[in-house]
Structure formats: structure tokens, C-alpha cells
Symmetry: C2
């Protein structure tokens, strides 16, 4: 039994997200487990670095699985790419230390949220970006983003109802880049709570629209109340860019 580390790319549009479901499974984890179980002739469980929601994309998701197989890592990669649907791809497979766990060992993650700030369509970005026609004040969004960086209790910025787990996280950087009418927000941190990046983005969007001031960020953090933060933005604008170990 060896432990393998996978780096995966997928377009989330057609899927119910990462996490395997019991019935009518249409998930990334489900597709991978089904294929690897077929390859090995026995049940294989795939651990992801985190659960991307339905519609969220990944440029480089990381997963691992313990398997019995005679194939080399390159052969496993090629086998998977041959049989996986066209919107899921395996960038690499390598042997990992037996104790390597893609989620528990992850030291950081980078997510990107993309906004088209225009009423003119961007046909080639339409599945990977959220459209906001009203002019955004990107400088105000940047000032607000700075106030969210650092170590905080992000309880106000998650949809999770699980009361007993820590909601303290560290955001190293929220970078906003404006390239004509495309605004890219890049979040780097040690980990993100359920819906956290999408609620952070929704809150920053409301700052950009002038509905909130950058100064409100501390208040929202301190409140620890979901209803104080902004709206959840659509999944399609979100992409998991990198998992750090």
C-alpha cells in the first residue's frame, strides 16, 4: 500500500462540488474514487485538501490516496487522464510519505475570485467570473481588504453552523488587481472556512459599490455574526489556485 499525491485541475461548472455524495453522485471526489477503485480492483478513498463547493474551479487542487497498484506514478496519471471527463485533469501523480495527508498537512491556500466590472460581455471568461455592471471603487475595496488581512476570528464570514470548531484564521494577503474591466482578488491564507472567500468578496463588493465603508470591517469581524457581513457571491467566480505544504 503506497500513498500517492495528486495535483488536479477542474472546471467546476458541471459538478456538485468536491465532496462525494451518497446518491446520484456527480462530484469530483466521487469521479476520482470510482476511477481509481476500478484501476486497483478494490475500493480507494481519495482525500482532498479541502472541499470546493458546487461550481467552484481548481487550477491546482491537491489530493492523496493509499493504493495497491503495479503502475508507476506517470502511468497512473496517464490512466486517469484517459478516463476522466474532459473537465477534470490530473497534472501530476507522485509517491508521498505514508503519513502525508492532503488536508491535515496543508499549510496554506491561495484562492482567486474574478469579477468582470462591465456591462460588456466577456465571452471567454463567462464561466470563471462574476459580472458586476455598476462601477466599483477599487481603491475603497483595497482599503477594506487590508483591514481583513492578519489573524482574526472570521466567524462572521462563514456560513458554517458548526459551533465548536475554531473560526480563527490568518489571511496573509488579499491582493486586488484591476486589468481594464477585470478585477482579480487573490486571497492567500493558512486556511479558509466554509464560504469564507465568497462572503469576503461579497463584503468587499459592497464596499466597492459604496454601500459600506472600509472602516466597517473591524466591526463585522468583532460581531462574529454572519448577518453583519455581505452577500455570498456566485461560485463560478472562484478558483482554488494553489495548496501549500
Amino acid at each position: 500500500m503506497k500513498n500517492y499525491k495528486f495535483v488536479l485541475q477542474y472546471e467546476g461548472t458541471r459538478y456538485q462540488g468536491w465532496q462525494r455524495q451518497d446518491s446520484t453522485d456527480n462530484t469530483i471526489q466521487g469521479k476520482l474514487e470510482k476511477l481509481l477503485s476500478r484501476m486497483c480492483g478494490e475500493a480507494v478513498e481519495v482525500q482532498g485538501s479541502g472541499r470546493t463547493d458546487a461550481g467552484v474551479h481548481a487550477l491546482a487542487q491537491v489530493a492523496n490516496a493509499h493504493m495497491h497498484t503495479q503502475r508507476t506514478p506517470e502511468e497512473i496519471r496517464d490512466y486517469m487522464n484517459l478516463y476522466l471527463p474532459e473537465d477534470i485533469g490530473v497534472l501530476s501523480v507522485e509517491e508521498a510519505p505514508e503519513r502525508f495527508h492532503s488536508r491535515l498537512n496543508a499549510k496554506g491556500k491561495v484562492y482567486r475570485y474574478r469579477i468582470i466590472n462591465s456591462s460588456i460581455p466577456h465571452i471567454f471568461e463567462r464561466k470563471y467570473a462574476h459580472v458586476v455592471s455598476e462601477k466599483l471603487d477599487v481603491d475603497a475595496m483595497r482599503r477594506a481588504a487590508e483591514r481583513l488581512e492578519g489573524t482574526h476570528d472570521f466567524k462572521a464570514f462563514t456560513s458554517s453552523r458548526k459551533g465548536n470548531k475554531s473560526t480563527v484564521r490568518t489571511i496573509n494577503r488579499i491582493e486586488l488587481i484591476q486589468d481594464n474591466d477585470v478585477i482579480t482578488l487573490t486571497f492567500s491564507g493558512d486556511g479558509f472556512l466554509y464560504h469564507m472567500v465568497r462572503i469576503l468578496t461579497g463584503t468587499l463588493l459592497e464596499v466597492g459599490l459604496g454601500q459600506r465603508s472600509p472602516g466597517e470591517m473591524e466591526e463585522i469581524l468583532q460581531s462574529c455574526r454572519r448577518e453583519k457581513a455581505g452577500a455570498l457571491v456566485p461560485a463560478k467566480g472562484l478558483t482554488l489556485m494553489e495548496v501549500k505544504y
Copy 2:
């Protein structure tokens, strides 16, 4: 009756190409004419700068149409973007001089052909690039491309059977850019014959694979025979980038 100039963006994947067909129409021109005819309450004919083939994309195709309408150009643009399918978009509409003709007045065009030179999938490029797993010699491709630049009879590089029209064209530049395993060929010229960019690319690919030498390019040009040139590469790698006036 005013003449309007349109700049259009589309993903060609789902379409039978630009040019309107008589039955079971699923073309870009057909979709535009149907919509503008409905908007104007009378038949509208849309002229494109050129016919993109089935599966070919456009970042900025140009078209024009003479129409009776009370709407401003911006209102026409918004009306079109409201009703067009999600894979066709209107970037701009403006009034043009009465004699402006998107095809006859075009002075130049820029096309891009994208190749993924890897057996590792590129999920987010899969609809816009052609995959070649075998290692390509990009330097040899560049030397061959240089020999195709300039004014030549490109009869060997077209699938067109029309014998009486001139097949002389000028290619100002064929630029090859390699970014890791993505190779982008950019063709700038005064105009391109039917299938010309895809046959040029197919021929350069065969040079990259070592099946031909750069020095053969002159011989192919001089032969004026289609069978001397390389294979036609798939439509999905091709994008019309710009039309110059």
C-alpha cells in the same frame, strides 16, 4: 437607413461557423440577422469581415449592417447582449459611414492559433487549443515561419477550389511565443484564404515534429499544390483576434 459597425466576440464551439445557412441554421451570422430583423421589424442583412469556420472563435470579429431603428448604438448593443446566446457577445456598436463595408474595407487581420505541447491536460484551454503531445522543435518552426512571411501566392495553403480568384496574400508577421508548454502562433496579414491559417499551422507543426525542414517552405509555396503542404489542424485552436481598417 443607417450603417452600423459591430465588434463581436464569440466562442465558436457550438456553431456551424459565421456564414448563414439556408436550413437548420446554427451560425453566428444567422443568429445576428434573426435578432436584428426582430429588433427592426424588417429583414436585416449582416456583413462580416470574413467567414470564420465551424468551431473557430473570435475575440473581435467586425461586421456591419444597414438598419432603420430609433435606438442609439448603445441601446442596440444592450438589446443584442440581452437576447444573444451566452457564447456570442457584442463589444461595441457604432454608426459607420454609409459606404463602410466590414469585409471590403478590411486592411488586415490577426489570427491566433494555440497549441498545448504536452500530454498533461490544460482544462481551462481545452476548447481553445489543439493538443500535440510529441515534443515540438519551436526554433525550427520559427525558421520555417520566417520563410512564409512576405507576399506570396498561397495557393498551396488553401482548401479553396475557386480557380479564378487571386491567391496572393501578404503575411506581415508570424510570431511564435512559447510559454512553458503553450505555444501561441500569431498571424498578421492583409487577408487569409479559406483554411489558410490552419494549413500554415499544420505545416509548421510538421516542421516542429521533424517531418519537414524549414527549407521546404519555398518549394511548397512555388508548387501551388495543396497536397504539398501540411495537414489542416482542428478549428478549435483558431481565434480571430483583430480586424484592421
